[in-house]
Every structure is written in C-alpha cells, then in structure tokens.
C-alpha cells in the first residue's frame, strides 16, 4: 500500500495498463514530454516510448477521430482532452462516432476507448475549463460516464475503463487531484463501472452525489449528525449507467433524498435520477426528492466561483428541508 493523491492514482492506473496491454496508447495535447498539464502522464513517455505515449497537434476533434481510427485497427486508445470544457470541439467524434461504432456496425466493430479529461470548479480556471458537462455525455447512448471521488476509486475505475470494450468518458475533478491522499494498493485491482458506493450509512436521509460533491456531502452528513440527523451518503461513481439498485435500497430505507450535483440545475444527471426514483419508489418517499445544484447560468467567472458552486451548507439546508417537509 502507498499513500497517493488522486492524480498519482491515475498515473499509476495508466502505467498499470500500459504494462498489461501493448495495445494501450495514450495521446493528447502535452501528454508526452510534458507529462500533461496536471502531470497525469508524468514519466510515461520515458518509460513506454513515443509510439505509445505521444503528443498530438492541437485539435480536439482530430484527437477524437484518431481514437476511432486506432480502435478500428485494434488499439485501445486513451486520449486526453486537456480540459473537459473543450469537449464541444470533439462532440461529433465522441457522440456521433465513438459512441455509435458498435451499434452502427451491428456489433461487428467496437471502440474500446477511454477519454480522460479534467473538469470541476474551485480552482479558478479561465472560462470553458471547469464546466460540469457529464449530463451531455450521459444523454448519449453507447457511452459510459465515470467520475471518481477519491484516489482508490480513481485507480480501480480507470483500469476498468481502459479494459472495457465500449467507450468510457472518465472525468477527473481538478479540485480532487491533490486535495488529499489515501491508501491505494500498488498492485492492480478494478472497481466495477456502474456500481455506486455507500460512503456512510444512515437512516434519516439519503444524500446522493458524485465527484467533488461526495466530500461536500460527507461534511454535510457530519454536521447533520450533530443535530441527531443520520444521513446516508451514496457516491454514484458512474453517472451513466446509474446504479439504481444501490440508490433504491437506500431510498427505501430512509424515505428522504437529496441529490447533489455541481452542474447546473437544468436537465442533467440529478433530474434523471430523481425521475427514476419517483417512478420506482414513490410509495417509499416521505418528502419530495430535492436537488442541490449550481444555478442555471454558464459556469461562474472565477471571482464568483465560491458562491456559485454548491457546498456542504447548501446540502445541510436542503437535507433539513426534506426532513422537515
């Protein structure tokens, strides 16, 4: 075991799969010699060579298109989109092409591609870096969308993503990269895609979150505890497909639910999840399922970021609303 930050766990996963499978190929902007703008690919080009870890010209659409072509040739591409706000430049390659390859070819071709990208607020980036755009991805059939909240899951989920024979969008919250360390096994292991984790057991209210909002929810749960409210916290880990079994088991136990997302309120993962909950468990609910989200503006200019982003106090407030309904 070693103490690792999330970014170290990600590098460790990439190294593990580069070693395991010679078809794994990592490419993107600045991922080679520079090791990525966050150093996620630090040292990998030196270790595995320029044919397997390499820089591309600066064009997201072609990075995505090239991943399709390499997949067709039997490779297992792991392209990086430098910041997920740049995904608009590569939407067709992801949603129009990668996600549809298996379907379009009647199952004769597949795209075992893992697209990695940093996102997430709280680090004062310029515009179009930090946006939570997982909802766009989750709406696309054919993709899986994974968002780890801690170093252990980050490694296990990334190894699963790379081994998956379908395309996975793997989103890394920038605020979590170096915010804490935890024990991460040095050997290889996987965390199953599509399985949520119960991070904290409770009986009065369920807080469902993913990414950086898991930590905020844990902090909220601690505060609620002080007022004798027992909160259960679920980390979705995968936002498409969503692990409804874990969610519904908790809903049936607590009868009260708050869904937390860093993304804006309109459309999105939380809205979808709430529909599923009310369709499948309405008679178990003692209050409407509520949401904690950012407001429906474009991602905040950095001076307003702290207020714009949901935080643990917002979650506590909403949990109390649900409990006192």
């Amino acid at each position: 075991m070693a103490q690792m930050t999330m970014i170290q766990a990600i590098t460790d996963a990439l190294r593990t799969e580069l070693k395991n499978d010679e078809n794994v190929m990592i490419f993107g902007e600045d991922v080679g010699k520079n090791g990525g703008v966050f150093r996620a690919t630090e040292g990998l080009q030196a270790e595995f060579g320029e044919e397997r870890v390499f820089d591309t010209p600066l064009a997201e659409s072609a990075i995505g298109g090239m991943a399709v072509g390499l997949a067709v040739e039997g490779f297992r591409p792991v392209p990086e989109i430098q910041f997920f706000g740049f995904v608009y430049e590569v939407m067709d390659a992801i949603s129009g092409q990668l996600a549809r390859l298996r379907y379009r070819s009647g199952g004769t071709q597949s795209a075992p591609v893992t697209i990695r990208a940093p996102f997430g607020g709280g680090v004062h980036t310029p515009e179009l870096h930090a946006d939570s755009l997982e909802g766009l991805m989750a709406q696309q059939p054919g993709l899986k969308v994974v968002i780890p909240s801690n170093p252990y899951d980050a490694k296990g989920l990334l190894i699963s993503a790379i081994r998956d024979n379908d395309p996975v969008v793997y989103l890394e919250h920038m605020k979590l990269y170096r915010s804490f360390r935890e024990e991460v096994p040095e050997e290889e292991y996987t965390v199953e895609i599509g399985k949520a984790a119960v991070k904290r057991e409770g009986t009065d209210v369920t807080l469902i979150a993913y990414g950086a909002m898991v930590q905020a929810s844990m902090k909220a749960a601690e505060e609620l505890e002080k007022n004798n409210v027992s909160a259960e916290v679920i980390d979705l880990r995968t936002v498409s497909p969503i692990d409804l079994d874990t969610v519904l088991a908790s809903v049936k136990k607590t009868g009260r639910v708050v869904v937390v997302q860093e993304a804006q309120r309109q459309a999105g993962v939380a809205a979808h999840l709430i529909s599923e909950i009310q369709e499948r468990a309405i008679l178990h609910l003692d209050a409407p399922v509520m949401r904690v989200t950012a407001p429906d503006t474009v991602f905040a200019f950095s001076q307003a970021e702290e207020v714009w982003l949901p935080n643990h106090s917002d979650i506590v407030e909403k949990a109390n609303e649900v409990i006192n309904f």
Partner: protein, 360 residues
C-alpha cells in the same frame, strides 16, 4: 517586393492521361495495367453505371431507401479503388458505396444499408472499411487514426477516405490531413470535386483556386486529377499508395468530376441550381465514353462485351434485391443488443419490454 505568396494554384495543373476522345495525351504517365486489368476496370464502370440506374428506379418504386446517385463519378470512385489492395482500409462518404462493393461488400448488404437495416453495415471479415460517413468530415480524422494504426502495426497498407468539394470546408478536413501529415501516416484523402455541395457551387466553398492546393498548408502531397479519366485517377492513386507505404506520408487527391443525378433521391432537384448547358458540357466528358473509345481503339472492348456486362449486372442486382428481401426484418431488440458488449440495467429492462412487444 511581394511579401505574400501567390500563384500556388499554378502548381496544381490538372493531371490527365486520356482526353475526352479517349486519346492518350500523356504517354509517359500511362499506368502499367494488363489488358485483362483494363477490361476489368471497364467492366466495373459499366456495371456500376447500371447499378446506379437500377438503384434510382428501385428507389422510385419504393424498394430502396436512402440513395446518393453515382453516375458521372465512376472514374473517380472506381479508379481510386482499383489502385487498392485488399488489406487497404476504406473510409467512405455516403456516395461511396461502389468502392465498398468492389472492395468486397456483398451487393445485397449495400441494398440493406440503403433500406436502413443494420446488416448492411455488418461487413464480412476481410472487407476492410467503415460504413459510409453521414457527418461530412468525420471520416477524415478517423482515416488519420486508421493510417497511424497501420503504421504502428508495420502493415504495408493505406487508409483511403473520400469526401466532396463541400467537405473540404469542414474543420475536420484540415485536422485529419494535418494529423496524418504530422504522424507521416499512410493515408490518402480523395476529394471528389463534383462542383456542387448539394446546391452550393464550388466557387462559394472557398477562395482557393484548386482544392488540391489545400495540401500545401499541411505539408503533404497534393494533386488535381481529371476525375473523368479513370487512368489518370488510377495512376495518381497508385503513386499516392506507393509513397504512403514507403513512409513518405499522405496525399490529397482532388478529382474534377460531376454527378449527373440529384444529390440524393430524397427530393433534391438539380434544375434549381444547375443549367442544362452545364450538364451537357460535363456529359461530353463522360468517363465511360472516353475509356470505351480508348479500349475499342486497342481492340479490347466491343458492344457485345458491354452488353454481356449489362446483362450480368441486371441479373446480379435482381438476385441481390431478392436476397435483401429475404433477410430477416430488423427488430428494436437487435438494436438494443448492439449498444454495448454487456447491457447495462436500463437497457436490460428495455430489452424485455421490446422482446415482449415483438413476440406479439
């Protein structure tokens, strides 16, 4: 002193071997093709012309669906494909079904593609190609990837991709060529400049005088070819292929051609944007007419020979339509099963719903 570069287009003079009367105008460029190969090339052009005529008729009878007519473009389509080997990989646009057929796609599957049945895209083992791209330009960045993959695998093969004059305006066109160039990947980018992107004329796509010169900006080879001259198209593609597998990087080939028919059979009316004069000017340059003249002068082709091909084509088209008719109907449950290797819970649930519906 001029501080800007001018006259790039002068370096892209149209490459031609046969003029419109079927006379050799460029003896030294004549490709090394045997009599049998020359006849096979003519066979394919005649066959494909008949296939186009029958496809249009079948579409009008409601027996085919989406169809983009090909007449006029046979030299561009089949001349490029004829220069390929089986292991080469084709990334076609939606008008490029003939290349897939001559690369090994069974005709009945091409018809199923037109009818909107996924079996049309289930290419048999060994047919190295993707199904036709609908998004203009997507296939160009993908070609860079396939080509890089081939290079990494040490294959002596190329990725060839097709688009039209309109496609050259897409950002992906530049990006794909630029990536392939930067990685010195064995790719061939074919632009069939048929003068119109649906209705928008070539002059409105770009201020560039030729489309071939777009190779200059990315530092790859570019050539403009008479796209009605199958020997010139073949020779240019053969050269490009050789350079690519020798590690000399990609080539952009612009073929000057014309589609006689509408953009697709879904209601396009070319009289809204083309004149009869223009149509007849291009028809004078017909690729079949000039190649036929060339072969007849060499004693390699006759009316009898041509009629044999026409009969064979009609026969095989009929049989392929029958085979397409007999193919099992597509079900939504099939589509669900083709979404992922392992179905997630939402689709598992939905699969049960559709299986139930389909069992009634």
């Amino acid at each position: 002193m001029k501080r800007t570069l001018e006259g790039i287009e002068d370096q892209f003079e149209m490459f031609q071997i046969l003029n419109e009367d079927g006379e050799v105008v460029n003896e030294e460029a004549l490709p090394d093709l045997s009599d049998e190969e020359l006849k096979e090339l003519m066979h394919r052009m005649v066959y494909t012309r008949i296939l186009d005529q029958r496809s249009i008729a079948l579409n009008r009878q409601g027996r085919l669906g989406f169809y983009a007519p090909t007449a006029g473009q046979e030299a561009s389509q089949l001349g490029t494909q004829f220069a390929l080997e089986k292991e080469d990989f084709i990334l076609p646009g939606y008008r490029d079904v003939p290349q897939l057929i001559w690369h090994g796609l069974p005709l009945y599957q091409a018809f199923l593609f037109s009818r909107g049945h996924f079996h049309g895209n289930q290419f048999p083992e060994g047919v190295n190609a993707l199904s036709p791209a609908i998004i203009i330009g997507a296939q160009i960045t993908q070609a860079a990837g396939v080509a890089l993959g081939m290079k990494r695998r040490g294959k002596k093969a190329v990725a060839i991709t097709y688009t039209g004059d309109g496609g050259t305006s897409q950002g992906d066109f530049y990006e794909g060529m630029n990536f392939a160039g930067a990685f010195e990947a064995p790719a061939i980018f074919v632009v069939q400049n048929n003068q119109f992107a649906i209705s928008v004329p070539r002059e409105k796509q770009t201020k560039a005088k030729t489309l071939a010169q777009k190779a200059v900006a990315v530092g790859i080879n570019g050539i403009q070819v008479d796209g009605m001259d199958v020997l010139a198209v073949y020779a240019a593609t053969k050269d490009a292929r050789e350079r690519a597998i020798n590690g000399e990087g990609p080539t952009l080939i612009e073929t000057l051609t014309y589609r006689y028919g509408p953009h697709t059979m879904a209601g396009d009316d070319p009289t809204r944007y083309r004149t009869e004069d223009m149509d007849s000017e291009w028809e004078k340059q017909d690729p079949l007419v000039r190649f036929r003249k060339y072969l007849e002068a060499k004693g390699l082709w006759s009316e009898e020979e041509e009629n044999k091909v026409i009969d064979q084509a009609k026969e095989e088209i009929k049989a392929a339509i029958k085979q397409a008719d007999a193919h099992p109907k597509m079900k939504v449950s099939d589509l669900i099963n083709n979404m992922y290797e392992v179905l997630p819970s939402n689709l598992k649930e939905q699969l049960e719903v559709y299986k139930e519906k389909e069992s009634k």
